[in-house]
């Protein structure tokens, strides 16, 4: 007797626990095996690139919060760097250091969320997520203390940062970075050699270094594939050249390596923050810029190493008060380029784990 099966289409999302937002996967499956995968995005499309063309350079900063809502500081930073490069504005040292501190705090918050949701996707019922949220909450409290907002920080300004942190910020952040290595060690102990996590994530969603470079993968996903590429070292924007830190590089390029790279990056971020706090120069925290900035016609592409990788802002000026063209190079979206290669032929749980390890943020995919 022969049995036959025919493929069927499974719609994962737009509302689904592990798509992390309104993101939809159309999966053609044969039983539990994935034959084809296609992503449907745009549910969160707010047309930010168009909106930005009608607003002044300063007015555009809050938009960048809302793209990658888990890493608002990095987005602010990337956009401000682009605008500064376009207008030729120098940033005071103190502002650069503060930018580094907040961008690294944001990376810690974002990576803890990414690792937590990744293990949640692997099936641990929210416990690691809650553990990691505990630390994330404290970082968000620091943000709130400094700029009054937790997620949509709107903290960086063209020419510096909006506020100097209040006096009580420094003891709090010192206490936090003293505590964080212990916490990260705790996660390592709990998760790194968990046999089930290993069984689920090793050898799943493997991307070779060649494919990762060719497929424009960036950030922890690229580094997990074995490519030592980090814009903080390569471009040394802000004050990153002053600090001593290392780039974690994975071995195989599977989901487990991505998880481990993120975990190690959290450690390195703590290192950077500690150095930045020690060496924080005094002085003004921003340069005064004209309210209606009118850069000379030209274009600038500035990129930062966001938590999800190379976060680029391409800004074109025609001499007016608003950008002529404003484009965000969204790492979440472009990291999905190889999703089909990673997922086809595997089973549904593997695809979910792979998606979780890519750490997408739908606000950034759709913009």
């Amino acid at each position: 007797m022969t049995t036959a099966s025919e493929p069927y289409v499974l719609n994962i999302g737009p509302q689904h626990p592990s798509t992390h937002g309104v993101f939809r996967l159309r999966v053609v499956m044969d039983g539990e095996r994935i034959q084809d995968i296609d992503m449907v995005v745009g549910y969160l499309h707010r047309s930010m690139e168009k909106l930005a063309e009608e607003r002044t350079y300063t007015q555009n900063i809050p938009f960048t919060d809302r793209t990658d809502y888990l890493a608002a500081m990095s987005n602010n930073l990337g956009y401000c760097l682009a605008a500064e490069r376009l207008a030729g504005i120098e940033v005071p040292d103190r502002a650069s250091y503060l930018r580094v501190i907040f961008a690294e705090l944001q990376r810690l918050a974002s990576h803890s969320m990414a690792n937590g949701t990744f293990i949640n996707d692997a099936g641990a019922w929210q416990t690691p997520l809650m553990y990691m949220f505990r630390e994330r909450e404290k970082i968000l409290d620091l943000f709130e203390m400094t700029c009054g907002a937790r997620l949509t920080t709107n903290y960086m300004r063209i020419g510096g940062v909006a506020f100097d942190p209040p006096a009580e910020f420094f003891p709090a952040v010192n206490a936090l970075i003293d505590e964080l290595p212990d916490r990260i060690a705790e996660y390592t102990e709990l998760l790194v050699d968990n046999e089930i996590l290993l069984a689920r994530s090793r050898g799943v969603g493997v991307v070779s270094a060649e494919d990762a470079i060719n497929g424009s993968l960036v950030g922890p996903v690229l580094r997990a594939s074995g490519v030592p590429w980090d814009l903080r070292k390569a471009e040394a924007y802000c004050a990153y050249g002053d600090f001593d830190f290392e780039i974690p590089v994975g071995h195989v390029g599977d989901c487990y390596d991505r998880f481990m790279v993120r975990l190690e990056e959290m450690r390195q971020s703590v290192r950077i923050i500690r150095q930045a706090l020690d060496g924080l120069p005094s002085g003004p925290h921003k340069t005064e810029i004209p309210l209606a900035l009118r850069p000379a016609p030209g274009e600038a592409y500035a990129r930062v190493e966001g938590p999800r990788g190379e976060l680029g802002f391409y800004v074109v000026s025609d001499g007016g008060p608003a950008p002529f063209r404003f484009h965000i190079r969204a790492p979440s979206l472009i990291n999905l380029s190889l999703l089909r290669e990673m997922a086809v032929g595997t089973s549904l749980p593997d695809a979910i784990v792979t998606l979780g390890s890519l750490d997408i943020v739908v606000g950034e995919i759709d913009r």
Partner: protein, 159 residues
């Protein structure tokens, strides 16, 4: 870089500055492949791909980068007509162009010939117009375009 490119691929380079090279749209795949294969330039990764509407033409910008050499190459291609804007796809060279070219097609309306899966991405098939074009909506005093957002009128009637 532009000089070497001019020697290797004559007719390809249209204009150049310190920051970028503008190449002929038909030659974009050859140029990109040459940049990708050249051991000194080694443009291994397509970092960013986007398009700008310059009213009379589109400017498609490729930010290529070499990870080993740690430098960036900006290549531009000018696409002429608004109605039939099209350009060869660089997907055969860079797999990372898959979604970026789809995005440019969706929002700017530049067709990429040879792209394996060129569909609208954020908007749905049949959406009228391409929103990032400057003439998509009319802004009083700035430029002409559609008087209101597509489907705005239809939505009002339904209600």
């Amino acid at each position: 870089m532009a000089g070497r490119l001019r020697r290797s691929l004559p007719q390809a380079v249209v204009a150049e500055t310190d920051e970028w090279v503008e190449v002929a749209p038909d030659a974009i795949v050859d140029v990109v492949r040459w940049l990708h294969d050249d051991p000194d330039l080694d443009a291994a990764q397509l970092s960013n791909l986007c398009a700008t509407d310059r009213y009379d033409h589109f400017e498609v910008v490729y930010h290529l980068q070499s990870l080993d050499q740690n430098h960036q190459i900006v290549v531009k291609a000018r696409v002429g007509e608004h109605e039939r804007a099209s350009l060869p796809s660089v997907y055969p060279v860079y797999k990372g162009a898959l979604l970026q070219e789809r995005e440019v097609y969706d929002l700017m309306g530049v067709r990429f010939e040879g792209h394996p899966d060129l569909r609208r991405m954020f908007l749905w098939e049949g959406y009228p117009g391409f929103p990032l074009r400057k003439d998509f909506l009319q802004i009083t005093g700035h430029h002409p375009g559609l008087p209101h957002f597509p489907f705005e009128e239809a939505g009002r009637q339904e209600r």
